[in-house]
Amino acid sequence: MSTSPAFSISGDPLEPDKLKRHLLDSHAGALATFEGWVRNHNEGEAVDRLEYSSYPALANKEGQRIVAEAFEKFEIDAAIAQHRVGLLEIGEIAVWVGVSAAHRGAAFDACRYIIEEIKARVPIWKKEYYSRGATDWVNCHQAT
């Protein structure tokens, strides 16, 4: 088993193949993964690229808590989640979550739990760069 932190923030492109290696476990019969991709639109606006920033001290703590909760709630063997920060182009991976478990149900459930809680609780912010030239911090409802 790996000694990598279960949740981390990365300034470099995420590497699913490498991340997946941390989840290999001879007890596991299922691996569920989730990739969040940068898409070229949001709420009817054409988006050229995204910028993610974080409050690392708290984001790392909260991310670790979420993965620990997944271990308490579901019968899983291993879990890892990584979130990208910096400027991202369309099609790049913004977030990656992987969970291995003896059975698929727990793997799916835990994977979904982790991504939903990351989106709701971890202090990471997204700034959209629109094709029309403007930018906006998502969820702040304030054009800049």
């Binding site: 974080s54 979130h83 990351i118 990471i124 912010w125 911090w137």
Partner: protein, 81 residues
């Protein structure tokens, strides 16, 4: 005695303040009072109802007392993933 606090800014608040962090001397007793003071000074557009607050790198209650040397962060609505 006023407290000396370190404030870090992220995302929209960082843009509105034009700074990553600053040290302030304040008589504000709670994070809520501190934020109201900063709204008066800097005109931040987000209300406390849409923010969370962290003291010393952990989520905190808006009404918890502030102590000299605390590190305070106001957290705009998150949007990871």
């Amino acid at each position: 005695m006023p407290n000396k606090l370190k404030i870090q800014y992220f995302a929209l608040l960082r843009e509105q303040r034009g700074l990553d962090e600053e040290t302030v001397e304040t008589k504000a007793a709670t994070a809520e009072q501190l934020y109201e003071e900063l709204v008066q000074k800097h005109g931040f557009g987000l209300p406390t109802s849409s923010l969370k607050v962290a003291v010393n790198d952990d989520f905190a209650d808006w009404n918890a007392p502030l102590n000299d040397g605390d590190n305070v962060v106001f957290i705009p609505p998150v949007a990871g993933g």
